[in-house]
């Protein structure tokens, strides 16, 4: 199990290659990669991600611990970037490995839902016209109720 917060670029392909490699007991590996989407006007210059360093890893480790209590996981990985990102950049990724696919899928979805609304990150969109903070979405908060 590993949690990393970094400003450096994220290489999901390389992370997947290294994740749970050499394990002969885990039949299922799921990854989720979050990518910076351009805005509807197509003029997003960058996304700036702020976080709460003293809390971030603690909060995500608690989510991973909860996921391993709920599902039978062989390994889990969460990487989240902060700082400035461009459209098309990878913001974050989650990887889960389990004997069976249902555990790997559900744990990855659980971690994503909690990361969206309970990990201390905030996103600011910068365009030619200025900067604005991304508002939390009701549907992201609602997604937590299924767990």
């Amino acid at each position: 199990m590993a949690v990393r917060i970094q400003s450096e670029p994220l290489d999901p392909g390389a992370e997947l290659t290294g994740f749970a490699s050499g394990r002969r007991d885990l039949g299922a590996v799921v990854t989720f990669t979050g990518v910076v989407r351009d805005n509807d006007a197509g003029d997003l210059q960058r996304l700036e991600i702020e976080h709460y360093p003293a809390m971030t890893i603690l909060a995500i480790e608690a989510m991973v611990t909860e996921a391993t209590a709920r599902w039978t996981l062989g390994d889990a990985l969460v990487i989240h970037r902060h700082g400035p990102l461009a459209p098309g950049d990878q913001i974050m990724m989650v990887a889960t490995a389990a004997r069976h696919r249902a555990d790997a899928f559900q744990a990855a979805e659980f971690l994503m839902d909690y990361l969206k609304s309970r990990a201390p990150f905030w996103k600011k969109e910068v365009t030619r016209d200025g900067a604005s903070w991304v508002a939390a979405r009701d549907e992201d908060e609602d997604a937590l109720s299924r767990w």
């Binding site: 979050g34 702020e50 976080h51 709460y52 003293a54 809390m55 603690l58 909060a59 989240h80 913001i91 974050m92 994503m112 990361l115 969206k116 609304s117 309970r118 990990a119 201390p120 990150f121 905030w122 996103k123 600011k124 903070w133 991304v134 508002a135 939390a136 992201d140 908060e141």
Partner: protein
């Protein structure tokens, strides 16, 4: 007692600084927020809508009625947008 306060995102921008230490006798985080709002307009502007604010006490998410005594660091920020 002394409490470290840290602010993030537009709460930080409206208050105009990322962290400070305050002297307070507030019993809860809600009382602390009331004291802050009474200090200056920029605090009032940042913290007037509690529905738009979240709080952490010593890096744990808490409700506003969380007791303040014993807490070393209080964080105030908008709803999180990770992922």
């Amino acid at each position: 007692m002394k409490v470290d306060l840290v602010y993030f995102a537009w709460v930080r921008e409206r208050i105009g600084l990322p962290r400070e230490t305050v002297e307070t006798d507030a019993a809860t985080i809600a009382e602390l927020i009331s004291e802050l709002r009474a200090r200056e307009d920029r605090y009032d502007l940042a913290l007037s809508d509690l529905g738009a604010i979240r709080a952490a006490a010593d890096q744990q998410l808490v409700e506003f009625d969380h007791p303040l005594p014993g807490v070393r660091e209080v964080a105030l920020f908008p709803p999180m947008t990770g992922g």
